[in-house]
């Protein structure tokens, strides 16, 4: 294969995966240092009335039914369910926002407090995002396809780049550095 064609493949694949790499690099550092990026400030409060048969539903079903009636996107973690007199508290959460919900089981009144997690938390969340968020639109569900394509093209870009280097510009000291990284990572994987 021609060198110019290989350079183009390396470049096109690299450009496709560019933003994913930046997000991945950022989240790797965040995870390694256990940094807390989520903001918790309430940005908006609103209330409405929903009709659900709360007596027939278990907590999880009730939380999901209210979420669907409110047309909100996100998971409803069971460990955040709480009952207080007639009120049922729960949280709807997705990578960009928390909705703290208070549902009055007598009146059907729902009070919602919204807490956006912020740009850095969203950037970090792309590491884990697989598109399978309840009530997510097609835009987010398509992330699963993008993720695999990005990983695949990243591998192609990386290995074509390494091949180009090895074939045309190999220097012994550079080979030693790559070998050292490979040896160190393999050794550590066996030791940890």
């Amino acid at each position: 294969m021609k060198k110019s064609l290989l350079i183009k493949i390396h470049l096109y694949c690299g450009l496709f995966t560019l933003f994913y790499l930046v997000a991945f690099g950022f989240s790797s550092i965040v995870l390694n240092h256990n940094l807390e990026l989520e903001k918790t400030t309430i940005s908006d409060r609103w209330e409405t009335v929903v009709k659900v048969n709360s007596e027939e539903l278990e907590d999880r079903q009730l939380a999901e039914a209210i979420r669907d009636k409110l047309d909100l996107m996100g998971w409803t973690p069971f460990w955040l369910f709480k009952h207080e007199a007639q009120d049922f508290h729960f949280t709807i959460t997705h990578p960009g926002r928390n909705y703290h919900v208070d549902f009055n089981q007598l009146t059907g009144v729902v009070q919602v407090a919204e807490a956006p997690k912020g740009f850095l938390a969203v950037l970090n969340s792309l590491h884990f995002l697989n598109g399978h968020i309840p009530n997510a639109p097609l835009l987010l569900r398509s992330w699963a396809i993008y993720q695999w394509l990005a990983l695949f093209t990243m591998l192609i870009s990386l290995f074509v780049g390494i091949w180009l280097w090895y074939k045309y510009r190999y220097r012994t000291q550079e080979g030693v550095v790559l070998g050292a990284f490979l040896a160190l990572s393999l050794l550590l994987m066996l030791l940890i």
């Binding site: 690299g14 450009l15 496709f16 933003f19 690099g25 790797s28 992330w143 994987m189 940890i192």
Partner: protein, 194 residues
């Protein structure tokens, strides 16, 4: 861009790719094991229980260290708690196995439960290990993870600079770049707004 500057950027791009190459394949394969955990039984573990009588010495870190060494328990201390009965429970994790050590001071007994992972579980555990704590090898691994994280960002940025130098007028390259930027940007914006 001067030729010397171009060469420096190209060198940085090349050196940034080395730690990524060294670890990336493991991360890609282990991601697959984690996402399709049902196919590979990633989280199935063999369990082995051993009970050992211990003397009534005072509980100290030195005694713990000796006991762990004598019984071949190694890894990172991932959890420590006390049961309602007053038993001290410690969990030590390695990629290949996890030990739950329960010290019953009242009964002068230690129970060791060992959970062994399969190859998919081993890869998944390596994927998850992070942070500057535990024995030296975990700290070195954390340094390596930081190097990989920084390298990913540097690799991407220097790659974009080289693209602008080499193929600035390539329409297809601009289209790919714009598509990626718009898609990732819109996804992030959607998550922030909705």
């Amino acid at each position: 861009m001067k030729p010397s500057t171009y060469n420096i950027v190209r060198k940085i791009h090349l050196y940034a790719s080395f730690p990524i190459v060294a670890l990336l394949l493991m991360f890609v394969i282990s991601s697959y094991f984690m996402i399709h955990y049902e196919w590979f039984n990633t989280y199935e573990r063999d369990e082995e229980v051993v009970q050992i009588e211990v003397s009534g010495d005072q509980v100290s870190e030195e005694n713990w260290a000796n006991f762990l060494s004598e019984n071949g328990i190694s890894g990172k201390l991932t959890n420590e708690r006390e049961s309602p009965e007053g038993d001290i429970i410690r969990e030590y994790a390695r990629a290949s196995k996890e030990h739950q050590v329960t010290l019953s001071v009242q009964n002068n007994q230690v129970e060791i439960i060992t959970y062994k992972t399969n190859i998919a579980g081993f890869m998944a555990e390596i994927h998850r290990i992070r942070g500057y704590s535990g024995p030296w090898q975990y700290q070195v691994y954390a340094v390596l993870l930081d190097i990989v994280g920084i390298s990913l960002i540097v690799f991407a940025i220097t790659g974009a600079i080289l693209w602008l130098k080499l193929l600035k007028n390539d329409v297809f390259a601009w289209a790919i770049f714009a598509a990626g930027l718009i898609y990732v940007g819109v996804v992030m914006l959607y998550l922030m707004i909705v």
